[in-house]
Symmetry: C2
Subunit: 407 residues, 2 copies
């Protein structure tokens, strides 16, 4: 890939992505795949005034070995110094950059339940620190083309050509090929206009229907506010948490979801695919789970804790989004969630509650923001999806028709 484009993409992540503030620390998480690009991102962060940039490297084949060989206890273990590191971050609030490149099949042959139990324990330990940091630091998830990931998407190409092709797809989907900063400013303005329209309607519930049998009504909070694109920390620093991002999203009201919803794309969870699944909701809670592929893992997800069976997010993405138009199933949520409307099981976001800056976490949860150690997106958008808004003043307003914005 062209050097200038890569430098611009690294700068996009450092400047528009996390928007590093002078003197701030940065933590980057990355696979070993793309050391040159990771170094470029680190350089862009230093260029923006970072005090320190640290990279936490991981290597999926090693993760696989850990799952195969460690006892469940050793796999789940969080050493005291690892907890001290979480405490340090909760205190010093470094920017966090996550550069994804994992092989979607990299953990296919491991014991999924063992891995899920270990992750569940680790998340439980991390949760108080994450709660303390919420909305107080900038973060950004972006992608780089891992070799095995590229080969899965483009098996007909040789290794180098497949990676180059995936670079192209990532950069195109991320609006990073031409003048990325201008492209992101225009895109964020568009998403914000959509949000303003939706927030003006006074939506009490969204009603999803599609030809696959989906018929689901999800209740909203009166204080709920749609968000999209750029986000803002409590201290006022603007950042873009997802590159790419095509969605407009909101946290629904916990306890109000009725009906059935069908998945429209596979869900890749920690290297394992769950596919062809249906969730039935009653009083906000998942009451029935069916999956053609990996039903036990889906059951485990939903049972991870009390909140894992409730919805934490409703996201609206038109069926003609640039990512859908690329015609690629990325097997990676960052991209695939931006190709279709989706819901998330688990934790909601406080920042889609009006005036969240002045409310405590407990107040947000009392209003209906779901709490869980899980937050897992799953795609429900189809070419024929309709969404209607039922408003607090009794109107029914079309939001989506034939999978696209109806306004």
């Amino acid at each position: 890939m062209n050097e200038t484009i890569l430098t611009n993409y690294a700068a996009l992540i450092a400047r528009m992505g996390v928007n590093v503030q002078p003197g701030q620390d940065v933590v980057i998480e990355a696979e070993l795949d793309q050391p040159d690009f990771v170094t470029r991102v680190a350089e862009a962060c230093y260029g923006a005034g970072a005090r320190t940039v640290r990279v936490q490297w991981s290597h999926q084949p090693l993760e696989r070995l850990h799952v195969l060989h460690r006892t469940p206890e050793a796999l789940a273990e969080v050493r005291p110094w690892e907890e001290a590191r979480l405490a340090d971050w909760a205190e010093t609030l470094p920017c966090r950059i996550y550069l994804l490149s994992e092989d979607p099949d990299g953990l296919r042959d491991v014991d999924g339940a063992k891995l899920a139990a270990a992750l569940q324990h680790k998340r439980r330990v991390a949760k108080p620190y994450r709660d303390r940091m919420e909305n107080r630091y900038q973060w950004c998830i972006a992608a780089v083309p891992g070799a095995a990931w590229a080969k899965k998407l483009f098996p007909e190409l040789d290794a180098a050509a497949a990676q180059e092709r995936l670079w192209q797809a990532i950069l195109s989907a991320s609006r990073a090929l031409e003048d990325p900063v201008a492209a992101w400013q225009a895109h964020n303005a568009d998403l914000q206009a959509r949000c303003a329209h939706l927030n003006g309607l006074g939506i009490r519930a969204l009603h999803y229907t599609a030809g696959n049998g989906t018929d689901l009504t999800v209740g909203m909070m009166a204080e709920g506010r749609f968000h999209g694109g750029a986000d803002r920390t409590l201290s006022g620093v603007v950042f873009n948490p997802n590159i790419p991002s095509e969605e407009v999203y909101i946290s629904p009201r916990r306890g109000q979801a009725e009906g059935v919803v069908h998945s429209s794309m596979p869900l890749a969870y920690q290297g394992l695919l769950i596919d062809g699944f249906t969730l039935r909701f009653h009083q906000g809670r998942v009451t029935e789970v069916r999956a053609e592929v990996n039903q036990p893992l889906l059951e485990k997800l939903v049972a991870m804790d009390e909140g894992a069976a409730y919805l934490g997010e409703c996201a609206l993405v038109p069926y003609d989004s640039p990512i859908r138009q690329a015609g690629i199933l990325f097997y990676n949520t960052l991209f695939d969630e931006n190709a279709a409307c989706h819901l998330a099981l688990g934790a909601g976001f406080c920042d889609t509650v009006e005036g969240f800056e002045h409310r405590t976490l407990e107040e947000c949860r009392a209003l209906g923001v779901n709490d869980s150690i899980l937050h897992e997106d799953f795609m429900i958008g189809t070419a024929d999806l309709s969404i209607d808004a039922e408003t607090f003043d009794g109107r029914t307003v079309p939001i989506f028709r034939q999978g696209r914005w109806a306004f």
Copy 2:
């Protein structure tokens, strides 16, 4: 490189190198260069019964950025969680594997004094933990062929061929090409026989002379004992700290070194080369430093702390060692120190004191083992080096003639 040979080399490191005990933790430090081989070593450790294997990856181009962009304070910083990690290791005593592959020139363009000051501070923080762990855990340093390192050694070859050639050189020097376990058992037996002979002489001092003007006498402790090859933890676990290792070594008596010594090979310190240097000693202490290349860095090393100007090691390596015969300057101490007799500035080893298992660290130091945060080898072996032992009973016994064993 042939798969079987790599698997055998990984097993050599895990089994003879650190000799992982069932249920023990392992920490591997490695550059990003050779993820497949590092994963192979991790697998060998799990195969030997490791409870957990963790890899701490580093990437020299990132280290370079840190030195360029961080303030001296930020570069030297040890976060509280990093100190907690040192404390955890001092408590749980994991095996430590260091897989070297750095580019000898990777840090050539950075501010060496800034880097040295930062490392000095970090070592000072780590020192109490290292002292607590001394002789209580197994460790092993071995090498893998980094791309830039290979290219420096074999500039006439293309990248892949240079790495393959360096694999060959590393594995050959490490006695890892054919039946490595049997080769190491025989080699360790030979080194131990040399040590037994030397320890039977009752050596009061070693007197080094060579045609380049070297004329140095270094005093020994009556309790000093030569070591070579395999080592043993206080709890009795045998391990091989260096792969390769051709040396027979001892900690001299602090305060007894008189005369002048000339370097015979460049010293690579944190990516910087110091070359063509002379050290003059009086009453054990360096009193004069001259270097054709990088004299200020050498001065800094010697001044790092009180003990950095005293000797911590005298190592005997015949000039016809297999590593010398390979005819390659590796620009890496692990190899180059095994191509020539060398001395070390800085900390000595307590385990070359008789009965060290029953002595405290303080007692060992009182006997004459030098203490410092530094331990830096430098090569003095030449084709014409002579070494004579002066014994406590007044004899003069030839140890080296024409750069080789005289017995």
